[in-house]
């Protein structure tokens, strides 16, 4: 697998309709028991998530592989890091 390939998600978290802080809290919860390398697809409609999700990922060692918008839904692909909290 090269760095340019976007891996398929191992699990999906639907946080559409949720507002701060729930998308981040639920993403953290969804990652908690997963092994390093696990790829989570997060769906959100909270506009604040555009700033919050990258900030959370950077603070927790989870890698934000990809982020885009799809019909008003923000889609994030996050890979769990080695030294996750």
């Amino acid at each position: 697998m090269t760095d340019h390939t976007i891996p398929a998600a191992d699990s999906v978290l639907d946080a559409r309709g949720q507002l701060c802080p729930m998308p981040v809290l639920n993403a953290a919860k969804a990652m908690r028991d997963k092994p390093p390398g696990h790829v989570l697809k997060l769906l959100a409609t909270d506009r604040g998530s555009l700033v919050d999700v990258p900030a959370w990922a950077a603070d927790t060692g989870n890698e934000l592989l990809e982020q885009h918008e799809e019909d008003g839904v923000y889609v994030y692909l996050l890979r769990k890091g080695e030294a996750d909290a």
């Binding site: 949720q18 507002l19 802080p21 981040v24 809290l25 953290a28 919860k29 959370w56 603070d59």
Partner: protein
């Protein structure tokens, strides 16, 4: 460490990358960057949100987190928080109202339950987490909830009146935690 002979031959991008790496490792070594301590001193529904939102998010971001509940903030962790946390429109010109209510009328009987119900509907309509959900999230993420012993005594609260998992402490307990972390906020 950056030494001068090495950096002299580096381009600006390489220097920036080196600095970023240095900052990253410094942050990793700095345990205080991973501790957050909050004081919750207010006992209304609106002011119950900020400390709980920040504390749960801090914990979800991998920080050791504690919230000290003091004075009216004890309402937030009282078993009866659902009933105790209210909204008072008196003296709150920033509160969004469906129609303009003159200041004097905000003090009329029935305005507090009305404003409280209105705010709860507004929160629910936007799918904002309830205080109960945030307290559950706090426990779930390991946020320490600490009730101020002194105000408990003064207000006549018993330890059993608080939600599951509450600890008890005083100013020294707060300071001991706060001095070890960069993030300390009084709400």
């Amino acid at each position: 460490m950056l030494d001068e002979t090495a950096t002299a031959t580096l381009g600006p991008d390489e220097v920036r990358a080196l600095v970023r790496e240095e900052v990253r490792t410094a942050l990793e070594r700095d345990r205080a960057a991973r501790r957050a301590t909050f004081i919750a001193s207010k006992g209304t529904l609106d002011w119950a949100y900020p400390p709980l939102i920040l504390a749960t998010t801090a914990a979800a971001s991998g920080m050791e987190t504690a919230v000290f509940f003091t004075f009216y903030g004890l309402n937030i962790i009282h078993r009866d928080f659902e009933r105790k946390l209210k909204i008072d429109p008196v003296g709150n010109p920033a509160m969004p109202m469906p129609v303009h209510v003159p200041d004097l009328l905000t003090a009329m009987p029935g305005m507090v339950p009305m404003a409280t119900a209105m705010m709860k509907r507004r929160f629910a309509g936007h799918n904002v987490a309830t205080i109960g959900e945030l307290l559950d999230a706090a426990r779930d993420t390991g946020v320490r909830l600490i009730a101020c012993q002194m105000t408990m005594e003064v207000f006549g609260y018993d330890e059993h009146e608080f939600v599951e998992g509450v600890e008890f402490g005083g100013a020294a307990a707060f300071l001991s935690q706060a001095r070890r972390g960069h993030v300390t906020l009084f709400v």
